[in-house]
Amino acid sequence: MLSILGGLLLVAGAAFLVLAGLGLVRMPDVLNRIQAGTKATTLGTLLTLGGFACLRPDWALKLLLIALFILLTNPLSSQVLAHAAHRAGARQTPLANRVDRLAEDRGDAS
């Protein structure tokens, strides 16, 4: 029973990893790609690690450690990366009502 649950979690997590990949390919600019990448990989990895924990309960502690580490560092690194990308002037999609308060506050015309 537990192993079936583990397998299902594993497939669900892997599906979210595919979603992350699709998001990376389909999204039009860096910041949107980061959005898709972080959210889907975080949930996806948490689910797959949870699935493995169900399949191998004796590994649960170490898997929890990995999951905790990813949960804390993944949003942080994408945040640093997003700021760097914005700062380096990575191209963004030109859209009608685009707001960019960060560029405004820094004083560069976008």
């Binding site: 594993l10 497939v11 892997a14 992350a20 860096v30 996806g44 580490f69 690194s77 994408s78």
Partner: protein
């Protein structure tokens, strides 16, 4: 049943990896590649744990942990570089 599910998951992880790899190779900016790299790392962590599971070797979990640690530092370092350029 469980074997089938694990196989499906392994296939999906492979597809996810290829999709992220496409973005990594395609770019166009350095930032895009770093995002793709970060995603690739996370997908690989699932991949490493999957191999650990299939081989029944718990020691590979440490590899996954250290891999996560190094990639975090790597992404931060590259982001800092991009920022100061």
């Amino acid at each position: 049943m469980v074997e089938a599910l694990v196989t499906v998951a392994a296939l999906l992880v492979g597809i996810a990896f290829l999709l992220a790899l496409y973005r990594f190779l395609r770019g166009p900016d350095a930032a895009d590649r770093v995002v793709a790299f970060d995603t690739l790392t996370l997908i690989s962590i699932t991949g490493i744990v999957l191999i650990a599971f299939l081989d029944g070797r718990g020691i590979y979990l440490d590899v996954a942990l250290v891999y996560a640690l190094l990639s975090f530092l790597g992404v931060i370092a590259v982001a800092r570089y991009l920022e100061q350029r």
